[in-house]
Amino acid sequence: AQRVTQPEKLLSVFKGAPVELKCNYSYSGSPELFWYVQYSRQRLQLLLRHISRESIKGFTADLNKGETSFHLKKPFAQEEDSAMYYCALSRQARDDKIIFGKGTRLHILP
């Protein structure tokens, strides 16, 4: 079964400290992995996807096929990083449905 697991509902991190949001997936095949973010009172938006290998707003995520993980990392947290983060996957096909995890709320402490 296709599934995305985000084990932490809430993660509180001090400003300037490193951030790691965990994501594990279950999928038979080679999925495309994403991180979506939702800031307060804003709509859900794509943060990054594994195939592009970009760093967006200082965040990176490495796909580990052996551990079926796609953890999101940032070396130094900023207050504006406080948001809801969703890990998601789809087949490597155009416009395929996206399967989301339940999300992790990241709270940056001053």
Binding site: V4, E32, R43, L44, Q45, L46, R49, I51, Y86, A88, R94, D95, D96, K97, I98, I99, F100, G101, K102, G103
Partner: protein, 114 residues
């Protein structure tokens, strides 16, 4: 470009009633997907429309149906509403011509069933 727009913003219905939600995709997009997001959960895929046809469907009953119009806008219809249908309904659009990987989400419609 206003991006993906949805109407109405909020809606309150009674059990057993029917509801229609509307979505206008981002300019240049031709594919619309609908998601249901219950409180404390991630979005769940309902179905996707392209070229006015349902192309994919998630694990939702037939009470959930949809339509796509020639201008690419879309409607989501839910019949015989249940209390469990209370959720935020998200519409996302994408472009198959552009590769279709990035879906742009609307602000959602909050449906409350009493």
């Amino acid at each position: 470009d206003a991006g993906v727009t949805q109407s109405p913003t909020h809606l309150i219905k009674t059990r057993g009633q029917q509801v229609t939600l509307r979505c206008s995709p981002k300019s240049g997009h031709d594919t619309v997907s609908w998601y249901q997001q219950a409180l404390g959960q991630g979005p769940q895929f309902i179905f996707q429309y392209y070229e006015e046809e349902e192309r994919q469907r998630g694990n939702f009953p037939d009470r959930f149906s949809g339509h796509q119009f020639p201008n690419y806008s879309s409607e989501l219809n839910v019949n015989a509403l249940l209390l469990g249908d209370s959720a935020l309904y998200l519409c996302a659009s994408s472009s198959r011509l552009a590769g279709g990987y990035e879906q742009y989400f609307g602000p959602g419609t909050r449906l409350t069933v009493t």
